[in-house]
Amino acid sequence: MSERLSRLLREPLFHFLILGLLIYGGYAWLHSGDAPDDEETITVGAGELAWLRTSFEKRWKRTPTPAELNGLIDEYVRETVLYREALAMGLDRDDTIVRRRLAQKLEFLVQDLVEVSPPTEEELEAYFEAHREDYREPDLVTFSHVFVDPDRRGEQTLQDAAAIREALEQLEDPAQGAKKLGDPFMLQSYYPERNEAEISKLFGGEFAERVGELSEGVWHGPVLSGYGVHVVYVHSKQSFPQPSLAEVRERVLNDWTTAKRKELDDEYVARLREKYDVVIEDAEETQSAKQAERSP
């Protein structure tokens, strides 16, 4: 019995229950006798009725019958009762969803309020200079590959890939070799002039990134993809010159505006934050809480 009791006392849900009772009791005690009339009145006026009708029409694409409307009103009253009681009991506090929703509402509001005036020529140029790489056409790679199928070769796959690579290195024409060795594969063995995004569509992101890093004129491998193992030969790479601001002006302007808006938003939140003292009590716990918060 005492063991069961102590287990109960350790049970978090039990703590919640006690907490709930305390909040409720505290509230009842604080507010006993007060409860002004308007807090105990729920008015379903013309505005609310119209709103209920519209919501119904939105969902069911027709007007509600009188019986359905009565049902909607009952539901509205019930929800309002629960809502007010919940507010009174402070249930909106420490609720992640409520917190997040309110924060989000303010964020949206701020975004609408922040006006971004157009940049000066200097600002635009400075932004372009700082982000030059983003506006260059992506490099093009021409490559051949040989597929080594793990479903077919099992544990031998990596060893076989190494042996195939050695055999390929002996060949005079790398492109022809790609066709003769390795396992059947549905994709082509040769792809000319593909950028990273296109290679990624064909072989997945990791493979595309890796191929972009490989040097020209030699066989590389094993290179892994979402399919299995590959031995890869890069015939050539092609890079593009840096465009001038005039050529990509519209894109730069868009990006500048987006960045500026974010900057102003952040500034606004930072200013708000200045009003607060932030006290962090336990360094370790805070660290993990911060990490949890950071994931978007």
Binding site: R53, A175, Q176, D183, S200
Partner: protein
């Protein structure tokens, strides 16, 4: 007690994490115990010398500079069913993402989703997309919100417009709802349903499609949705054009809700030089109307109806967010994989909810009845290619299961709304909606003409989302080792027909048709479990179907007695919403000859490829919230691809007609 539960539930949701980080692993390490599968292709014995010009260009896709079409076709993944804020119902649900956003998202850019404020981006961009906003009031609502627009100026004394522009959110929503009601009750508002207005908003829609078309890189179409839904029975069709001018006016359900009248419109457009076809969708919500054996007047289908239908409707959606339309367990009791994404059951907008009729509501049944009509009437009305779609009302083709953010504007835009049961669209809970499907097209190059023509000749397939690559060919004399030949595709085209085609006339020596199939997994999704060929035929006036497992992963074999195949297994960790590709194969291939062939029966064959089990989107969401996956939907699913069929039509001399065709000749049912 209720308070107690509420506090407990709230506390459970304290640690919400982003599910995007928890994607399943990708590149699999070589499997330690993978036995070579008999079904998989064997390595070519001897290196073959190509009989084409040698050098790199002969063995791969052409380079950029050449602009040469690939006669052996490339696969292009894309979207053929999508709504932006220009659809009135999407607008009423809170969507403010524009057609520009929709195209840019499909192209791979990160876009801010207006209903949640979060940035959304595809992991793998699409090659093409058609925005199919509802023809009814297309683009009208966004213009009404802007007091300076041409349309607002024209209608500034109209009270609905004044309500929208009053700045009062409630009044605005009321006005949007009034407009949207007109859409589903087929009751147009004469103030908006005016030719001058429609012409002007439609022109804008066409301009946007043309603006985003980059031949060779990204293809768009001039397209719209014809939204016919008589008495809640879904008969929706999307309409596509091949040229960049398109028609002066779209055809809306306000013009007519009868498919026959839509066909007249399409025929008129073709006559005026705008090649076009229609693609029906959500047969599963049509209450048996989509593939009914009768026309809009209730008369039995005749040869003229069948011919017009086949000419105007070249493909159908097999899956989209409102469920799959392949088949229903009640129609295909022997299909162990039939019960897939079929929890969305209610006819749209019914209250109380009505579950639709199953018969004549599914594609497989229609394909089989189609060959029945070929025998009975000499024409097949349901000669349909297979595509898939999103039907998302957000502007975003969310086909990636691990990357799903909801499909109905503000209704299901957050994890909480999707999982709480509060997010409902047309009376259906958000959790019953699936992720969008993807359409794959085998075309010579990424241009409007090439992709349009590929859909028209049905060289397409649909998937439940993953970008599985699938080749399917049929002929009378394919070699047994065809798929292991490195000239596979060239030889397959030379000796037979690809998906969507008709088998050539049966040669005198031939005994049965042979099919070659090759499937390759999506590098960012699960491995493959199996490849099946689904055969349908007509016998003595009745439809028949049989499913053959033609390629199995992991060296599995059917039980010699029962023919049952051991399941592939399941690596999903439901709590963490992860899986591993330690089971299944990355590619599967087979050359299969029909063992039960009867040359006197009309037949239809199509492929279904199954992935290994992976988490459903709701399982990823549950992980994010730290709760159990919702009841009523599967926690893990086997994603899949369905090919367009290949048809066999016997020589008329071989056919014995049945005295009755009970499934095809029904006036009342």
């Amino acid at each position: 007690m209720r308070i107690f539960t509420m506090i407990a539930v709230a506390s459970l949701t304290l640690f919400l994490a982003c599910r995007g980080d928890d994607k399943a692993e990708e590149a699999p390490a070589p499997k330690p115990d993978a036995a070579p599968s008999d079904a998989a292709p064997t390595p070519p014995s001897e290196p073959k010398v190509a009989d084409t010009p040698s050098g790199p260009s002969a063995i791969g896709e052409p380079g950029r500079a050449s602009q040469t079409p690939n006669p052996l076709k490339n696969v292009y993944f894309g979207e053929q069913h999508l709504h932006s804020q220009n659809s009135p119902d999407a607008y009423a649900m809170g969507t403010r993402n524009t057609p520009d956003d929709a195209y840019n998202f499909a192209k791979g850019q990160a876009i801010k989703k207006n209903t949640s404020g979060e940035m959304v981006q595809k992991k793998t961009p699409y090659d093409w997309a058609a925005l199919t906003d509802h023809a009814e009031y297309i683009g009208v609502l966004p213009q009404l919100t802007d007091p300076n627009s041409e349309l607002s100026q024209k209608l500034k004394n109209y009270d609905i417009v004044q309500m929208i522009q009053s700045g009062d959110e409630k009044k605005g929503d009321e006005a949007f709802a009034k407009i949207a009601v007109g859409l589903t009750t087929n009751n147009p508002d004469p103030n908006f349903d005016r030719r001058d207005i429609i012409r002007s908003v439609w022109q804008k829609q066409k301009d946007i499609a043309n603006k985003h078309y980059e031949p060779g890189k990204f293809t768009t179409f001039i397209a719209f949705e014809w939204t016919s839904i008589p008495v809640n029975q879904n008969l929706h069709r999307n309409v596509f054009f091949r040229d960049d001018k398109g028609p002066d006016l779209p055809f809306s359900a306000f013009d007519s809700d009868r498919p026959e009248d839509l066909w007249t419109y399409l025929e008129t457009q073709r006559g005026a030089g705008h090649d076009t076809f229609a693609i029906p969708h959500n047969a599963n919500l049509s209450n048996g109307l989509m593939f009914a054996p009768r026309d809009s007047e209730g008369q039995p289908i005749d040869a003229r109806y069948a011919k017009r239908r086949a000419q105007n409707e070249v493909a159908t959606e097999i899956i989209q967010c409102k469920g799959q339309s392949d088949t229903h367990p009640a129609l295909s009791p022997n299909d162990e994989f039939a019960g897939f994404e079929e929890q969305y059951k209610h006819l749209i907008g019914t209250n109380p909810p009505v579950v639709g009729r199953v018969n004549y509501s599914y594609v497989r049944e229609a394909l089989i009845n189609g060959v029945g009509y070929q025998e009975y009437l000499g024409v097949n009305p349901f000669k349909l290619g297979i595509v898939a779609g999103a039907d998302a009302h957000t502007g975003f083709s969310d086909n990636e299961e691990f990357n799903y953010t909801g499909v109905h504007g503000g209704v299901d835009s957050t994890v909480e709304k999707r999982m709480s049961g509060a997010g409902q669209t047309a009376g259906e809970a958000a959790v019953n909606f699936g992720t969008p499907g993807a359409t794959a097209v085998w075309a010579e190059q990424n241009t409007r003409e090439a992709i349009f023509d590929a859909i028209k000749r049905r060289e397409t397939y649909g998937t439940s989302g993953p970008l599985i690559r699938l080749r399917f060919f049929g002929a009378w004399d394919y070699a047994e080792d065809l798929t292991s030949d490195d000239e596979f595709v060239k030889n397959a085209y030379a000796g037979g027909v690809p998906m969507g085609g008709d088998l050539a006339k049966m040669p005198a020596k031939a005994k049965a048709p042979t099919f070659a199939v090759w499937a390759l997994k999506d590098p960012d999704s699960g491995n493959l479990d199996r490849v099946q060929i689904i055969k349908g035929w007509y016998e003595n006036g009745y439809p028949q179907e049989k499913i053959y497992n033609v390629a199995l992963s992991d060296g599995r074999k059917p039980d010699p007695k029962s023919g049952k195949v051991p399941p592939v297994g399941n690596t999903v960790d439901i709590k963490n919403a992860t899986y591993t590709n330690t089971i299944g194969d990355s590619q599967l291939a087979a050359v299969w000859t029909d063992p039960d062939f009867d040359s006197s029966h009309h037949a239809v064959y199509y492929v279904r490829v199954l992935e290994i089990p992976t988490p459903r989107w709701s399982t990823y969401d549950a992980k994010t919230m730290g709760i159990d996956p919702p009841e009523g939907v599967a926690a893990t699913i086997q994603e899949r691809a369905w090919s367009s069929p290949i048809w066999y039509t016997p020589d008329p001399k071989l056919v014995k007609k049945a005295p009755f065709y009970p499934h095809l000749h029904q006036v009342f049912n």
